[in-house]
Every structure is written in C-alpha cells, then in structure tokens.
Symmetry: C2
Subunit: 755 residues, 2 copies
C-alpha cells in the first residue's frame, strides 16, 4: 500500500519559484541566477538558460554537461510569510534531492544529508520572517579519492565505490557518463496542524490457509494525544469491512483488527491484484478533522522457496551446499516469474512522470510479465511506480543502489547506506507488489568483488530483517544457481548461439540475459546526424550511443556477427532488419526455453526492458522514450500464459540438412489446458508445407506437455529465411511461428557459427 506521507493542505498557496546558479567553491555564491524547474536537474536548467545545443540526447550534445561534475549548485527560492493560524506550522518538504546537499533558511544552516532517497521534512515556523529565503546547496558529484573521470575507462568503478549514488550515471554500456544532480522529486511548502501525523504504517499477517489477516495499524504523530481517530478498511467498491474508532492517549497507537476472508492480491497471470483502501482520520477536540492518511493495501504472502528438484539431487562427497532458492511463491503457490530488468526510463529522474511510469508498466503487463527487477545500478523509483505496480499486478524485485562494485566496509559509507536503505525499506515495504529485496547487481562476481562477508550486504540483510522480515532478501543477483548472460545471439567465446547454450543450461533462474538489437529506423534518424547514418562508424554518434565498444569490442552493433549470418549489408534498413530479427528470435527462444525448463527453472527476466536515452543498439525491448522494437512483440508472444512452442536445434540451416525440433504446449497458469489439434507447417518461398500433426490430449494446471520430435529434410529454397508455424487449430492466440535462416547447399560456411 502507499501511504500519502504529507497532508497537502493549502499547498498551492505556496507553489515555489526556484532559481539556480553554479559556483566553484562551497562558500561562494553564483554570479548569475537562472530559472530552475523543480523537480528537474541542474543540467537541464543550465542547458536552457545558456542556450546549449538541444536536445541533450542528439548526437554528442550530452558532452556539454561534462564540466559540471565538480561544480557546486545552489537552488534558491523566496516567499512571503504566510498567514498561519495559531496551531499551524509551516514545513519544507521534499521527496528527493540528488545527491549531497545542505539546506539553509534565511541564512541559517538547517540540515545536511547525503543520499537522494530520503524524504526531507523541516519545520520552518519558528524562523519565519516577513520575507524568507530558502537555499539548497548541491555538492559536487562524489568521486572517490579524487579519481578523475577518464572517458572509455573503468573510472566509474572508482568514482561510484563509496556512495549510495546510483552507479549508472558514471557511465554504462547503454548510458553515457552523465551524473545527474538536483531536486528530483516533489518539493513544496506545507501547512500542517501542530498536531499532525508523522507516520502511519500498516502491516498484516495472513494465516497459513489465507482465510484471515491480522492487521496492525501503527500511528505515530506529534502532539496527537487527546485527539480521536477513525480507521476504516474499504474494498474497491467502497464497502467498509473494518472500522475502528477511539481516543489517542499518547502520540503512538497501534490499532489491531482481523479481516476475515480477505480477497488476495495476485500478480499478473495468477489472479486479480485486489486492493483495499485504508483510511485514517484524526479529529481534534472540537471534532474537526485535523489530519489523515489514506492508502491502498493488498493482502498477499511472498516467499522464496527452493526450486523443485533441487533438494532431490544426489549427494556426492565432498559435498558443498545446495543451490540458493530462486522460486517465488505467492499466497502458497509457486509461480513462474516472467519479466524483465527495469532501468529508469529517463536519464534525468526528475523528468519521470506518473504517465511515463504508467505507459511502461502497462507495456510490461502487455508482454504478460509479472515481475520487474529494478536493477541496482539505477534509481529507486518514485511512489507512483509502486502504486502502479500494486494496481496492475506487477511484482517488484527491488535492489538497493549497489552495482558491479566493491563497496567498502567503511563506517562513513555504511552510515550513508543505512540512512538511505532505512528510508527505502520503510517506504516500499507497504506495497503489495514488493516481492524481493536485493543488495544489488552482480556483487558476488569478480567485477563486483563483494562477498557475504561485506558489511554493506550484512547491514542490508539486517535492516530488511528488522524492518520487513516477511519479504525475501537476497544479497545480489546472480546467486548460486542463477544465471546472468549471455548477452549476444552468438557468443564467439563459447562458439555457441542462443539456441545452443540455453537448452544445455540448468539454472534455477535466468535473471539476466540479452540479445542486442538496433534501434528502430526512425529512432536512429532522430538522434544520429544524417551524414553519419550509414555505414555506421566508430567516432560518430553511433559510438557515443553504444553501437561500438560499449561492452566487448563490437557491442552492441555486433557487425561481424551480422555479416557472418547475413552476408554483406548494403543499407541501414537491412542492418536494422537483420539485427532486430536475431534479437526477436533469440529472446523468444530464451523465454520459451526457460519455461520448458520448469519446474526446476523459476524465472526468466531479460536484460533489459527500456533505456534512458536513445541507444543505437542495445539489449532493450523498447527504444527511448517508448518505441517498441520487434523483439517486444516476440517476447510478449513467448510469455503468453499458454502457447505452442518449438525447440529447434539452431538458427541457421543448410539445404538438405535434417531440421530437428521438439514440440511443447507450455502452461504456467494453474488452469488445465483442454485437448488440442496441433499442426506444424514449414513456410518457405511463400508456400506452406505440412510437416506433422500432434493430438495434444490436454494437460493439468502449471504443467507443460511434450509433443513429438520433428525431423524434416530441408528442401531447396529461394529465400534466405523460412518459417515454422506451430498452429493450434482454431486458436490463433495459442499458435506460434519461428523464423530461421536458410543457406543453399553451396553457400560458403563462414566458420563463425557451427553449422
């Protein structure tokens, strides 16, 4: 549930006008002031005021921000003393200031904090003058040990190592070096009654058979003893299920109540995400309402249980431990977690609106996803994100802001992390969508270098245990048994393509995997200068936008691979087509294969869903801001709750070769599937050829069915592609189609792939 933490009385009386300036030293003031958008980012204000080349995402325009990293920025706003009644107080409230900052009011230091994820609430009342000035001093970008940023090197690791600043801004293989700062979430002045609520926290315990929920509502306030309260729990039709009234004899109060037969909250594909509404109202001595909170509340139990079959593996001495559990159980039922890795949809988090969240979360739901892994390199999202996930039935795997780095056992860092993590946990734990807490991304791999001995991770486990023990906690991803990668259609290191490595793999959960695809043609044209468009070259906007050397040498365009598979490429249109075809078919294969590996396998989450600016090539399904790549549609098909599926041995076939594949009906719902007639066709050169039929006899809920093995000698074809269509008679919504490459008998073997 989402608790509205602030009582927005009179807020429009105090809409603030902000100005911004920069300066080299903390003690200095800006020479000039410019208008500032709040929420926003210091970069965007300067860009606008100083007539930078726009937009920032075009060509190499983002480099214009580089000089700002070591500058201080100061926000200021002025306002007249408001007419406060005797029992009213004026607060400065902000939901997020990025990153280290100090707040001054009428020239007096009020508050300092490091970290962008803690809310700020400062009572200004006693220091009010007729005309008031509020200043927020933003400190330079944290760069550990004074290590300077060197483009093209791993300096992001040194820079980001000792702060709770999301690491992605220091540069990633799909994100430029661009470290945002500024006031990035809702910020305003608020009038509150002197007696007001500070926190309302709702928790519950469901019994083992889910027939009732014991609810606790913990009220904490300032000077609320003597007030009375009403608390009500309503369903979505406004029917009241529980109501409690009483007097407050102290500033803290716990209300207990039991809800019989709660309608449970379920994630996408397993039921409805039912939400109740909790409403608490506080009344003063003359019975007028003085404060209140309302929030949504979903009843569900989340566990992380051992993957089916893992405990049954034989013990061979010397034996190590069994693998870590990676199977989500919701309300007592194992689910197959289909989803994606969420990276924030805008480079500047101040630009992310509820509408953007809604658009992206609806797209995720549209792909039949039920789990979003909010990757630890990025930001912890605003409240609207969690509200929407609650509403739409998307589970959230929430990582703390640690990624691919060895965060130290230093007290100074642990102090900041503890404050930020406490804010994050207390805010998000109230949401029905929350499924997993995770310490961060790839921390237990060589490029992370942390272990279960790292104090930062022990601290996070301890905090989550103390504040929210009912939600599973993992130190990082991947854990023992989970898989990250690969991120290519064909991996020259292993000599295998996706269709080969994936069936040989036995991971508990595929929590990251990717196949790169070029951006859509229109998207490429929108940010690459026309004279650089084709052929793509290093040293142009292609490279800055991650088509060359972003990860391995050829990432993410992967030109040698594309040429090996498709021959010489003569146009941008063809390049986009070839790249997007392999992305779409590769990802479809992985999702379906992960589902075929059920019940041992429990998750498939591709890297990654969206991107924060337009990349030229990247593993994402969606181009910035919200253009769908073809892979999105194929992944959505692969994630249909029930579908016919084909496991082919490889992607490139030669004339006369025996095409081999197995047939399946995949079902990860808990409903049985009725008997079906399945027919398989080869479509080549526009002709359908019937290959085989399968009398599928039906299957139980949460069970896959295996059909016959398909073995066909491939005929000669004119076209370089052919399709296999697995048709469920009369049910096009269950049918599937797969594209393969065809090479004539005398086509040269490139040696690049094994064929």
């Amino acid at each position: 549930m989402s608790s509205q933490p602030i009582n927005l009385l009179h807020e429009d009386l105090f809409a603030l006008e902000w100005e911004l300036g920069y300066h080299k030293d903390a003690g200095l003031s800006p020479d000039t002031w410019m208008p500032a958008a709040v929420p926003g980012a210091v970069q965007l204000d300067v860009m606008k005021a100083e007539n930078y080349k726009q937009p920032y995402w075009y060509g190499d325009n983002c480099k214009q921000f580089d000089w700002m990293e070591d500058y201080f920025f100061t926000y200021r706003t002025a306002f007249k003393k408001p007419d406060l009644e005797a029992d009213q107080r004026l607060f400065f409230h902000s939901k997020g200031i990025d990153y280290s900052y100090e707040i001054y009011f009428n020239g007096i230091f009020l508050y300092a904090h490091e970290g962008m994820f803690s809310y700020v609430d400062l009572d200004l009342t006693d220091r009010l003058q007729e005309l008031n000035e509020l200043k927020v001093l933003i400190l330079p970008v944290p760069k550990i040990g004074g290590v300077e940023f060197v483009p093209g090197t791993d300096t992001y690791r040194q820079n980001a190592r000792e702060s709770a600043k999301p690491a992605v801004g220091y540069g990633w293989d799909w994100h430029p070096r661009l470290v945002t700062r500024g006031i990035w979430d809702d910020t305003c002045l608020l009038v509150k009654n002197r007696s007001h609520l500070k926190n309302v926290s709702i928790s519950y315990t469901l019994n083992d058979t889910f027939t009732y929920a014991d609810i606790s509502v913990v009220i904490e306030g300032l000077a609320i003893a003597g007030s009375s309260y009403t608390w009500r729990l309503e369903d979505k039709w406004g029917r009241t299920h529980l109501e409690r009234r009483g007097e407050l004899t102290a500033d803290e109060k716990t209300i207990s109540a039991t809800l019989e037969n709660p309608e449970l909250w379920w994630p996408e594909g397993y039921g409805e995400p039912v939400l109740y509404r909790s409403e608490l109202t506080l009344f003063g001595t003359d019975n007028e309402s003085i404060d209140g909170r309302s929030s949504k509340l979903g009843f569900r139990k989340v566990s992380m249980v051992m993957n089916e079959g893992e405990w049954d593996k034989p013990t061979v001495f010397p034996t190590s431990r069994n693998r870590a559990p990676a199977c989500l159980e919701i309300n007592g039922r194992s689910i197959f977690a289909k989803g994606t890795n969420w990276v924030h949809p805008e480079i500047f988090p101040g630009l992310i609106t509820t509408e953007i969240y809604r658009k992206h979360i609806e797209l995720a739901k549209g792909a039949h996803f039920n789990l979003l892994r909010v990757w630890g390199g990025g930001i912890t999202n605003k409240e609207a994100f969690f509200d929407l996930c609650d509403e739409l039935g998307l589970l959230v795997w929430q990582e703390f802001p640690l990624a691919c780095n060895n965060y130290p056992d230093k007290q100074s860092y642990l102090y900041v992390l503890e404050k930020e993590a406490t804010s994050i946990i207390n805010r998000i734990k109230q949401h029905a969508c929350l499924a997993i807490w995770s310490g961060g991304n790839e921390l237990f791999n060589a490029w992370g270098g942390m272990t279960e001995q790292s104090l930062a991770l022990r601290l996070l486990n301890s905090l989550c245990y103390q504040l929210d023990s009912q939600t599973p906690f993992i130190f990082t991803s991947p854990l023992y048994g989970m898989g990250h990668g690969s991120y290519l259609f064909f991996d020259s290191k292993t000599g295998q393509e996706v269709l080969q490595w994936m069936p040989a793999s036995d991971k508990t959960a595929y929590t990251e995997f990717g196949v790169p695809g070029l951006a859509n043609l229109d998207v490429l044209k929108s940010f690459i200068p026309e004279d650089e468009l084709f052929p793509p070259k290093r040293g142009t906007a292609w490279e800055l936008h991650h088509a060359f050397g972003a990860w391995r040498h050829d990432s993410w365009l992967e030109l040698p691979f594309l040429k090996a598979y498709f021959g010489e490429i003569s146009s941008l249109e063809s390049l986009v087509d070839f790249s997007q075809l392999t992305q779409a078919e590769g990802l479809k294969f992985i999702y379906e294969e992960a589902r075929r590996q059920r019940p041992y396998c429990s998750m498939a989450l591709n890297w990654c869903f969206q991107e924060p600016w337009p990349t030229a090539a990247n593993n994402s399904l969606i181009n910035w801001p919200d253009t769908l790549k073809p892979a999105y549609y194929e992944v959505a098909n692969a994630c249909r709750p029930v579908l016919a599926s084909l496991r082919a041995r490889k992607f490139v076939w030669h004339e006369g070769e025996q095409f081999k594949a197995e047939l399946f009906i995949l079902n990860d719902t808990y409903q049985a599937v009725e008997p079906k007639q399945v027919k398989v066709f080869l479509n080549a050169d526009g002709q359908d050829m019937h290959l085989t039929s399968w009398d599928f006899l039906g299957s139980e809920g949460f069970k896959n069915a295996v059909g016959p093995l398909l073995e066909v000698n491939l005929p000669a074809m004119q076209n370089a592609r052919f399709r296999i269509r697995v048709e469920v008679l009369g049910e096009v919504e269950l049918s599937s189609e797969y594209v393969f490459l065809f090479k004539a008998r005398d086509a040269p073997h490139t040696g690049y792939f094994r064929d």
Copy 2:
C-alpha cells in the same frame, strides 16, 4: 578477553546444598528427594541415588535414562538469611541451566527461561526470610509436536526442530539418544554491593597497519554514578601501558584510549598468542573498592577473504556467482587453517571441567592445529574453553545451536533463539580466539533444508552484525565451494578411496572429512562386555556404541571394506590394527593434500576431534575420555608447519605395478625454508631400497615446492605392507613416512576397490 561477570565476594559463605526429585506433572512435588550435584545433570543424580548399573557408558547402561525424558525435575536448596550490610544485596547467579526452567523463591515465582546458554542473575534481597528455599523446576525434554522418540529412526529431527537445545542429545551417529538436563554450569549465591557493575565490555579497532588500537571500555552498572574508577591495561609482565581514572556521573560510561604498537595476538603456527590484562576497579565515596572486573585482551583482526585464484576464474555465460570466501586472514596475513571439529568431550556438559578443556586444547595444539570448529550440534562451551583458546592460540569457529534440521520461521522459536544467541555473542565476542560465527551445521544441504531465506539465519546474521560486526559470519558449513565428506576410506558409492577423490577435488576449504577407526583395544575392553568382544556383532554393545548402522549400513566398523582390503580377520587385535591403519593413513593423506592445494585451498578440519563417550568405532582422533588413536599422531605429523610430503596415487598396490607419487616440501609458515637434501626409500620386508633423491633448493614463506615424480616398478615382497620414507637429510623432524598395502601378482582382485 574474558570478563569475569560476577564479583565473587563471600561466595564460600553460601555454598549451597542441592536436592533433586522428579514428578510427572509441573504442579506436583517429588515424592522423594535425593542429593544433587551442581553443576551436574539430573540423570547422574538419579543413577547414583537409585543404584543404577554404572558406569552409564558401559554396555547398554545408558538406556536406563530413557524414561526420564517426559518427567519434570525439581532442584531445591535451603539457606539461612545471611548477615548483609545495609548497602549489600544477595543474588542468585547461574551460568547455565539446561533447558527450560522456572525459578521459585520462598514459594513465589521469580523467573522463567528457555535455553541453557543464558546467565541468570536474580536479586533475592527483598524477599529474604529467616529460612529460605530456592527451587528450580526443570521442564521435560522439548519434543516438537509430541513426536515420540523411536530408536533407530530420524525422530531426532522432529524432536529438535523448534528449540535451541543442542541437537546431539537426540541421538547422532556417535552419540546415544540421551538428552541431558539440569544445572550444568557454576551456580551460587553472591553478595554484591548495591552499587555494582552489570557489564564491562571492551572493544577495539586496529588501524590498517596494526600500529595502534583504539580501545573502548563500556561500563554499565547499577547505582554507580558518583563512584570513581581506575582502568588499567597491563602486558603479561605486569607493565602498565594505559591507565585512566575518573568519576562516574552516570550508570554508563565509555572510556576511550589508544594503545600504540600493540603486540598482536597470533594463532598457533603464526606467532605468539599475546594477551594483555584489563583491570577495572570501582571506588565508593570513601575510596574503598566496591567492585571490579579483570579480563584478558588480545589484539588481532580477523577477516574472511576470497580464496586465492577464485576471482581469476574465467566467466562463462550464463554465469552464476563466484564461490564464497573461506580463507581466514589474521592481522592482514592469510593463514592455512589446520584443525578439527570439536564435539563436547562429555555427554553431560555439567561434567566438563577446566582440566578437561585444557587437556583437549593442549592436544589440539600438539597436533599443530590452529582452528577448532565448535560444531552446531553440540553445546556452546563454558568460559574456560575460550580462556584457554585465547591463551594457547587456538582460533575458534563458533556455531550457534542449529544442526542438520530445518528450524522454522516461527515467532516462538525465533524469540528463544534471539535471547540465547544474544547471550552467546555478548559473552564470546570479547575473546581473541573468536574467528568465525556460523549459523550452524549443514543447514543448506537437503538433510538440513534451510536456505538464506530462513528467518533464524537472517536473525543470526543481523544479531552478529549489530553486536560484533568485526567477526566474520557465515550462515552454515558447507557454503558454496567448501566440502563436507567423505567419511570413509573407501566410498562404495563413488568407487574411490581417499587417495583418489581428494587430489581430484578443488574445494576452497575442507571443513569436514573423516576416516573411521576402531577404538583402541583397551578402550574397547573397558565398555564392551567380554563375551561380546569378538567377533563384533549387531545387537551387542558394539552396535549401541556405533560400530553398526550408525550412519550407512556398515558404519562405523566398515567390516566389508576391511575384509576387502585385508582379507579375513581373525582377532580383535588385527581388526583394531587394520581399521586404525586406514584411519591414520587416510587422514594424513587428506591433511597433506589439502595443504598441497594451497593457496586456493585454505582449510582442513577433520571430523572429528574427540567423542563424548566411548565409541567402538568413529571418525574421532581421540577416544573418550582422552586416549589417543594412532591417527592422532599421523595427523599431527601431517600438520607440522614444514614437512616433506608424498602424493601417491592409491593405497593398495600389486607386485610389478608402477608405483607413482609426487614429492613436495610443504610450508605454511611465513618463514622461508632453506635448501635440503631429500632422499626417498622403499622399505619392504625390513629392507631399505633407495628410490630417488631431490636437491630441494629452498622456498619462500607460505609457499610449497614440488619435487620430482617418483616412478618405481614394485618388487615382490613377503609382507602385506610396505613403507615409503621421504627423508630430509639430518632433519628427522621434517621427514615423513607412508604405509601402503602390497598384494602379490596372483592375489585375487576383490573388485571392491579399483586396483
């Protein structure tokens, strides 16, 4: 360091005489009272009073205790009101009562607790009468869900699942079902000043170069504000290094001080276990001493770091995490942890004395061990154990009382565990010897069934982080990369003997492994009735003492294996000889091979050191109470800091076979080894045959050296055994000798082992 938690003023004035009785219901009183030994156990008092067959460890005498499990026991003692001065208080103090109990004083309920590891301190003063009676009611053995004990089944799992009672008493493969209860540690009445110390806790932080230690002494007391204090830190020669004096203005006080150039505490083999002495004295207003604490303090830093080479392993996608770190670093230096698994040396923990601890810990040190893993199935030891480990330089891996079980996420269990673990952590964290906290034994294996999601383990991580974050914490052993097993010389499941599986293994740490050996002849005769002695049979004292079916079918006598290797066995003497030979040679091989696998491998700890009663056969090195098996001496040889070592391919050789082995000089000290002349001899039928020589050129500290490969065609021999002697010229203390079995060319192959 060990803080003396109680000020033992006048204690002998109040030596208490205890009586004991049993009864079916909590509300009842015993019909009869018998004398009770405190500390002790209820079983021992009844045995003595009711003329049971003795000793309890002979034959099947221990079965006489079976009926007691479901009875209540009550201890009682009476004493006259002591002459207390006006500012004095009388306390009842106990260091341990086993297991669930209630305390009544003069008929009034005072206190109840579940758990044997928390100290009890009850102020009796205000309830004193002229004649006083103190009663301790001991509740029945915890048996979860009323599951009855069924001999020979796994009922121990159900019984032990929801309590913090050490699991071993419910029956193990080397421990009878015998669940102890009673007052098991020092217990007395104490007179304290009204103003007295409650807790004195010393902690310190060493800087990175170990040139100074920042010390904090936290004093907590009752009504001590207004007193003055002196705190001194002395070295072992009594020289004062730090002294602080001051007034207490509150009941809590933190004294800070910095010790320059502390002499560091080192474990066996790496330096001296240097201890300082801390002494705090409290003075009343008239300057008389009113309370004080003294304790030993060792300065060292313990870390658990990644095993060398693990981070360098190549990444193959899909990739999982790297293995868990298992290398202990002391004061910035990696060490090789040689040691053993400690199980308590008496079934009845009330019988364990400081002398017994000293004897066993000195034996461990004598075997060149530097680490004792205090296994989670047993008890957490008394203070004397830790004092001795501090003094003698033995590191301690301390497990919480969880073993081979799925302890539940239930609030009632977590409540008990939190109380017990908090007591354990706060007591032991002060000791220099403490190296590792561990959740318990084999919890992440199928027969444990717990995972990192288990709330009990998350709780323990959280408590250790909050109370003692400077000591490494692991959830359990084995973790990913560590090895447990095997526990046989020849494992018929894998078809491999110790000399074969161990060189093929690549574990980070061998934290349990074993080879069973029969007890010494005298020991066997001391508890097996004469008419049962030979041949060993099921259904006799042999079986009750773990020679048959204790683990797998033939464990631990392993008669089929012994017959396959040695042929028909005609006497008890031969049986003991054959069994003890394979134990000694097998364990020697594992310790040396683990050392050869350094630096990747970081630990070798055999299962197990001692035993709590006389077993007929078992993996221990020591027979109860303190008789050494031959394996003890061979293991001690294998653990010499520097030695010549041989890696032979197998144990049984045939005439004419080519004997193959590699030579090594092993060195896990940080001192270089000088050049040596090494000669290798085959000793057969009493004749020495020179096989090869090696001009060893010396090696650096903490480095092993590899010598030539030995390849010899074996001659015909008369005897069934031959020896290879690796002689370091003039340095018998570095030389080694290995025994092998010889089979004539025409000897039948048994098929049992691969030869």
